[in-house]
């Protein structure tokens, strides 16, 4: 902590004395570099942190710069009033450009945003109000009483303050609730939705942040250069900006800043060889993408990794500790129905995955869903948790109709789930994975970030304390800061359950929780699931391991080819002729002498299902 304060102090002092050592041209370059750094932070927030491919950042820059120029020269506004309106205008445009992100992602979004940026360039080059290809000159600079901001030295301090605040705010966002949700969305938007993150709102937030930084950079640019023209906001510059972010490291704001400042300086230094320089950036971007996808910011971590591997890891061995049971609550005798699935059909192209499936689960129950591979079990979970919309039928959860509810709505209503093929957030630590689910605040409370940051901090500290509790309870304390994807399978499964429980659900859906676990781990799992139920959470689990189902579940629903073929206690289900048929098939197998119907009176017949 002390070294960190010292570092920050050193940087502040260095920033303070910097102009004293620089010539007037150099300080101009530094001023430009800071503007690009602001732009790069915005880009990093949208692309690196939130995973939204935004190729319109240079247009946001342009909207900010042009708004100031137009408002001051055409409408006689003062610089500061124009600046405020310009930032607002940029954010409005940013939200508009972000709307497509609600419907499409990845390259689709890249092409649409790039197209809109091209449209913007087209407009400024042709519109009368923006001065056409000549641009607008004679933009009045900002004034402050007693300070002559027309001096580039003094303007530097203005920029440095704005930049410093913007960077700190950016880092604050990234490291607290909002940024964590954005990063979770980037890593796996489906899982993030299932943990209660309001994906549409978060996507808009990413564009809001990107345009906010773009607008600020545009305002500063107008005030510094006092002249705006279309070529500054060209697609070529957009790609240079992209190169800055990629080379610096898109997932680290500091990396983005380093990339932006570094590349601006290099570009200036090579200004006589600008084409060769461009060739160079292109080559470096390609090499970075192939060999160092985390950019310069990722280099220290990679080096550390290599170093540790060389030395052979000697760190204290982390171990998975036993689960600490929840304190049980008293159970009511009259259990209410918590979940009702009624006549649900799910049709994919040419395939009816679920056919009029109905079931009802009572509060406090542990329900097993079994069936051969491909019988529709996971599809049923996806319909219940809002990932798929049922083709027909209704789902009711906790008394309300949730047939068409989105996953985040269901999560906030108290439904939580795990995934068959582990969907942990790969770039978040184990603790952060838990924190995403723990955080039950709605995304619209992000207004706090604008006006009451201490409130955000207080909330954050409470969450962290709770996260440590969850980690301890599940015996994961040693792995709190680990990268989840590097951990053994059994531990990852445990983390998924811990994450799902961190959301304090009323209903927990477990999709094959025992897959890939060894005997001892299965026993631990049984204890965990029992304790979860005793704490008042209803559990539905999909399982192949029939032993687990037999010993855990009070009631079992059997699916086959999308139909419910039996329901009842495990003992009832395994003796049902339909189940034996589904699992054993026709006489061909019976002829093999391994199966005789007389054995049907044995309750253990249930284990047919494991075949």
């Amino acid at each position: 902590m002390r070294t960190r304060i010292a570092t920050v102090a050193a940087i502040v002092v260095a920033a303070w004395v910097l102009p004293y050592g620089l010539g007037s041209y150099t300080i101009h370059i530094v001023n430009i570099a800071l503007i690009y750094a602001l732009l790069a932070i915005g880009m990093g927030l949208a692309m690196g942190i939130s995973g939204q491919i935004n190729l319109a950042q240079v247009a946001f820059f342009g909207v900010g710069a042009y708004s100031v120029a137009i408002l001051t020269t055409h409408y006689g506004y003062g610089f500061w009033a124009a600046a405020l309106l310009a930032v607002l205008a940029t954010v409005v445009i940013g939200l508009f450009v972000g709307i497509p992100a609600l419907r499409m992602q990845s390259h689709y979004l890249g092409i649409v945003t790039l197209g809109l940026a091209l449209g913007f360039i087209n407009w400024i080059t042709n519109a009368h109000i923006s001065g056409g290809a000549d641009g607008i000159s004679g933009v009045p600079g900002p004034t402050l009483p007693g300070i002559d901001l027309s001096s580039e030295y003094l303007y530097y301090y203005l920029e440095a303050v704005v930049f410093g605040l913007a960077l700190v705010f950016g880092l604050f966002v990234v490291r607290t609730s909002l940024g964590r949700r954005l990063r979770a969305m980037r890593d796996d938007s489906l899982a993030a939705g299932a943990m209660g993150a309001e994906i549409p709102l978060l996507r808009m937030t990413a564009f809001l942040l990107a345009s906010l930084y773009g607008g600020l950079a545009g305002v500063l640019y107008s005030g510094l250069i006092r002249y705006v023209a279309p070529e500054t906001f060209s697609i070529a510059n957009m790609f240079i900006l992209l190169a800055m972010v990629i080379i610096g490291g898109r997932r680290s704001l500091v990396g983005c800043v380093v990339g932006a400042i570094g590349l601006t300086l290099v570009r200036e230094w090579l200004s006589d060889f600008s084409t060769y320089a461009q060739l160079g950036y292109g080559v470096v971007v390609v090499l970075m993408v192939v060999f160092a996808p985390t950019g310069l910011a990722g280099v220290p971590a990679r080096l550390r990794g290599v170093y540790e591997r060389r030395r052979g890891r000697e760190s204290a061995r982390a171990e998975l500790r036993p689960f600490t049971p929840y304190s049980p609550i008293e159970r009511h005798d009259t259990a209410d129905v918590l979940l009702t699935v009624e006549g649900v059909t799910k049709q994919f192209r040419g395939l009816r995955a679920l056919n009029e499936v109905s079931l009802a689960v009572n509060e406090g129950e542990i329900r097993g869903i079994v069936g051969p591979n491909g019988s529709g079990k996971t599809t049923l979970f996806n319909v219940i948790s809002g990932f798929y919309r049922a083709t027909a039928g209704t789902v009711r959860f906790a008394g309300s109709d949730t047939t068409t509810a989105r996953p985040y709505v269901l999560s906030l209503a108290g439904l939580s789930r795990t995934f068959q093929n582990l969907r942990l957030f790969g770039q978040l630590t184990v603790r952060e994975n838990i924190l995403v689910a723990l955080d039950r605040s709605r995304t619209h409370t992000i207004w706090q970030y604008a006006v009451w940051q201490p409130g955000v901090w207080a909330h954050e500290r409470r969450l962290r304390a709770q996260a440590d509790e969850v980690l301890e309870r599940f015996g994961l304390g040693d792995f709190a800061d680990a990268d989840p994807t590097a951990l053994p399978y059994g531990i990852q499964r445990r983390i998924e359950i811990a994450r799902a429980m961190a959301a304090r659900p009323r209903l927990l859906l477990l999709d094959e929780p025992a897959a890939g676990l060894n005997g001892e781990e299965v026993q631990q799992l049984i204890r965990i699931v029992r304790s979860i139920r005793d704490s008042g959470t209803t559990v539905i689990l999909i399982e192949h391991n029939m032993g687990l189902v037999m010993s855990l579940c009070e009631k079992v629903t059997v699916l086959s080819s999308g139909n419910v073929i039996a329901e009842g206690t495990p003992q009832q289900v395994v003796t049902a002729p339909e189940v034996i048929e589904a699992y054993l098939g026709e006489s061909d197998l019976a002829e093999l002498g391994m199966d005789t119907p007389e054995a049907a009176d044995q309750p253990d017949r249930a284990k047919e299902a494991t075949s």
Binding site: G350, G374, T485, Y489, A515, A582, G585, L592, T610, S611
Partner: protein, 244 residues
């Protein structure tokens, strides 16, 4: 009529096969052989490492250790795409037909490593004899077929590669009992014709019905091995995998 013409079986021997994903060991040092004309099964629960074993055998996932021989050829360093030229046909888990191509194109692609000539079309007719349903649907897109038909197509496609050894990964997955019965008939017929089979299954009953020898996998290791008859009467296997 014999449906798999011009093939002679050879002995597959796999030694010390291991697979790691990241730091996690999915398969640790597995040995097994498939004698000419023999059918061998691998059973085990989800996540036991069965599919990883097959994929490593086929070269579809990197092996961290192990050697593979077929007859007198060493296939350890042969790439996945060349396995088929050495006589190993593969039916992947979940069928993996080419959904946007017609049934016939799917089958023809099985013969990709040879010229498409008269001989290929004769073989196509043989496959249609084995699976009449494919003939009726030859111009339909594979993606529009039912799961059982896709499974037939996947097996047909693998047979078109002229395998000496057919490797099947969970052919019963997602199929109704009747269709599992059909698959069983087909596999028994192929076995009668002298094709070597390596079958990975969750469905222990199907496996014991088709194979002469079996391996039981647990946690990436061989937990048990023996003849299928022995294993199907072994109390532990009966309890865990057959539920008897």
């Amino acid at each position: 009529m014999k449906v798999i013409t011009g093939t002679t079986a050879e002995c597959l021997s796999v030694q010390e096969l291991s697979v790691h994903y990241g730091g996690v060991q999915a398969v640790s040092s597995i040995d097994f052989t498939v004698e000419p004309g023999q059918s061998v099964g691998i059973i085990g629960a989800n996540g036991a490492g069965k599919t990883s074993t097959l994929k490593a055998l086929m070269g579809l996932v990197p092996r961290s250790n192990g050697s593979i021989r077929l007859g007198d050829k060493d296939l350890t360093r042969v790439r996945a795409r060349d396995m088929v030229r050495h006589g190993i046909g593969y039916v992947p888990e979940g069928r993996h037909v080419f959904p946007g191509l017609t049934v016939e194109k799917n089958l023809l692609l099985g013969a990709y490593s040879r010229a498409w000539d008269k001989d290929t079309h004769r073989q196509l007719e043989e496959i249609y004899t084995l699976f009449p349903v494919l003939k009726d649907m030859r111009e339909r897109l594979a993606g529009a077929m039912s799961g059982g038909q896709q499974q037939m197509l996947a097996i047909g496609r693998a047979l078109m590669t002229r395998p000496r050894l057919l490797v099947l990964d969970e052919p019963s997955m997602g199929l109704s009992p009747k269709l599992v019965g059909n698959i069983l008939d087909v596999l028994l017929r192929l076995r009668e014709e002298g094709l070597s089979l390596l079958l990975v299954e969750q469905n222990a009953k199907l496996t014991f019905g088709v194979t002469s020898h079996c391996i039981v996998m647990e946690n990436g290791q061989v937990a048990m091995r023996g003849t299928s008859t022995q294993l199907s009467h072994d109390p532990r296997v009966r309890e865990v995998y057959l539920g008897l």
